[in-house]
């Protein structure tokens, strides 16, 4: 890793210097969530064909698939929206790398603690295909990084982009991606709809890899290729519209 890339991560990481209590909060929130959710499902009997082992493995994998792609990659949209982008455009900084690596640094403690808990659950409950899982996870990161940038650029057309974030990221990842409840536990018509959308490939399909299901990355790769082209087009048009009104 180059010093430049490291400096991007450090900028994010150094926020812990200013907000030291965040170290504790970030270290605890992931593990607490990972203990509560499967226990809750199990407690209310909403487990379908899932065993407790599978619930823990699925939840741990699913948590990483939300944390890294959505909470690390996606905030680029906010950084673009808040107007910091024009400042960065005058500096020799690779925008995509900077945005991703900086967020990686600023969520570092959450990430490490969640990875540790995932490692423990994976070991205890005998997860499989770890390398393929991380490959799927990396593809999900790329997908949300591109989507985050595209939504961020929309801020040059729209005053607020919160709606886009909810419609394109948070809600569909919960509903069609199975990041809260595995798709197997949802009505079959919803699962049918989900198979035509990208979120199933991003969350559910990747999380199921650790339970032994064979991966199919083709839909995800096609979505990424589509977003990569779209991101360049939207950036090209949006870059002509920065500060569309002003002195």
């Amino acid at each position: 890793m180059s010093f430049r890339a490291l400096s991007y991560i450090l900028v994010g990481l150094k926020r812990y210097k200013t907000f030291p209590l965040d170290v504790l909060i970030d270290a605890l929130k992931g593990p607490v969530l990972l203990l509560i959710i499967p226990s809750l499902w199990y407690g209310i009997g909403a487990v379908g064909s899932f065993s407790l082992r599978e619930l823990f493995l699925y939840t741990a994998a699913s948590h990483l698939l939300v944390l890294l792609p959505i909470y690390v990659s996606f905030p680029v949209a906010n950084m673009i929206r808040t107007g910091f982008l024009p400042s960065l455009l005058t500096k020799p900084v690779n925008l995509s790398s900077y945005l991703f690596l900086r967020n990686l640094g600023s969520t570092f403690v959450s990430l490490v603690s969640s990875l540790l808990v995932f490692a423990v659950i994976y070991k205890v409950y005998g997860g499989v295909n770890i390398a393929l899982f991380f490959l799927g996870l990396s593809l999900a990161v790329v997908f949300y990084l591109l989507l985050g940038q595209i939504i961020g650029y929309l801020a040059t057309w729209f005053y607020t982009i919160w709606g886009f974030q909810s419609i394109l990221v948070y809600l569909p990842s919960l509903l069609f991606g199975g990041s809260l409840v595995p798709l197997d536990l949802l009505p079959s018509w919803l699962v049918d709809v989900a198979s035509f959308l990208p979120w199933k490939s991003l969350h559910y399909d990747v999380a199921m890899i650790v339970l032994g299901r064979s991966p199919n990355f083709l839909p995800l790769l096609l979505w990424i290729a589509f977003l990569a082209v779209l991101e360049r087009i939207v950036f090209h048009v949006a870059s002509k519209r920065w500060e569309s009104w002003g002195g």
Binding site: K17, K91, G246
Partner: protein
């Protein structure tokens, strides 16, 4: 001398579409921010880029720094087309927008500097030498360890200036660097910018703080509603105004005086037509004068004269 900034027939139009319902577009309002601006800046020149609000100053600076694309016209900075944002170009310019921060809000200022050390590929020795020098000139040593969000506006702007100059750029573009400054800070920044000019940097400075600009620049490009209305030396600009200011103090109230604009007790301010200054001064000296000064109008008065009712 080599021309490092070349602007030819630069045009920029802003379009703002009002929404009728949800996202459906309605009427489009059009604002011509720049209507064919042309000027050049030679290496080592320190130029004031002035004009009233909405005249197109910031738009020009944003285009020169590569943030905005123009609609028409040619722009070259150090031989580069700014909006292509080549790495060599970005490493050669220093940009500051007073109303925007380049410092990372939540981390100490020195950590932002360290981040840009890597971005600009500076070696450790050069970096610390530059930090030391800029900290001393701008008196920011005590702020380096504080996050930007804990700094006052004046402290932050000084740190922003240091960041702008950190990598020793050839061309410096400054948009409102005196924003929200007290007199002491402004004095520091003026001294600093004069030093930058002496180092042979090319500086384009846009500001509404005209008394500060007056002290720093020798040439002024004056903009009004997207067009250049004056481009020349500061002294030439002042000649455009047909009067000089005469400040005179008498030992006792002097009675009626010609061209008086203000009078308090035995002190009066006169605005005397240039061709009559000698005769009026002679006339005044025949009275009981304690002190007499003849001054050029200040830049603010000149601008009000050149761009009336802006």
């Amino acid at each position: 001398m080599e021309e490092v900034i070349v602007v030819e027939n630069l045009k920029k139009v802003y379009r703002k579409t009002k929404r009728t319902f949800l996202i459906f577009p309605g009427e489009t309002e059009v604002l011509e921010a720049l209507k064919g601006v042309s000027f050049t800046v030679k290496r080592g020149e320190v130029v004031g880029y002035l004009g009233p609000n909405g005249s197109g100053k910031s738009t020009t600076i944003k285009i020169l720094s590569g943030v905005l694309h123009p609609d028409e016209g040619e722009v070259s900075v150090l031989g580069f087309t700014p909006w292509e944002r080549r790495r060599e170009f970005l490493e050669s310019i220093g940009v500051m927008f007073g109303h925007r921060t380049f410092l990372f809000w939540e981390i100490p200022v020195i950590d932002t500097f360290l981040f840009y050390k890597e971005a600009y590929g500076m070696d450790k020795e050069t970096f610390w030498e530059r930090v030391g020098r800029l900290s001393e000139i701008l008196s920011i040593e005590e702020y380096l360890e504080k996050p930007a969000r804990e700094l006052s506006l004046g402290e932050r702007i000084r740190c922003e200036l240091a960041l702008t100059l950190l990598h020793d750029p050839d061309v410096v573009l400054l948009d409102e660097p005196f924003l929200g400054m007290d007199v002491w800070t402004r004095e520091k920044i003026r001294a600093f910018l004069k030093e930058v000019g002496r180092e042979g940097k090319t500086v384009l400075l846009s500001s509404h703080q005209l008394e500060d600009v007056e002290e720093i620049v020798e040439r002024v490009v004056l903009l009004d509603r997207g067009k250049i209305v004056f481009d020349g030396g500061l002294d030439d600009l002042k000649q455009v105004v047909g009067w000089k200011r005469v400040l005179v103090t008498f030992s006792s109230p002097p009675g009626p005086l010609p061209y008086v604009v203000r009078s308090v007790g035995s002190t009066a301010e006169l605005r005397v037509p240039r061709e009559e200054v000698s005769s009026v001064v002679r006339e005044l000296l025949e009275k009981d004068v304690v002190d007499l000064t003849v001054e050029e109008p200040d830049l603010e008065e000149v601008l009000k004269h050149v761009v009336p009712g802006a």
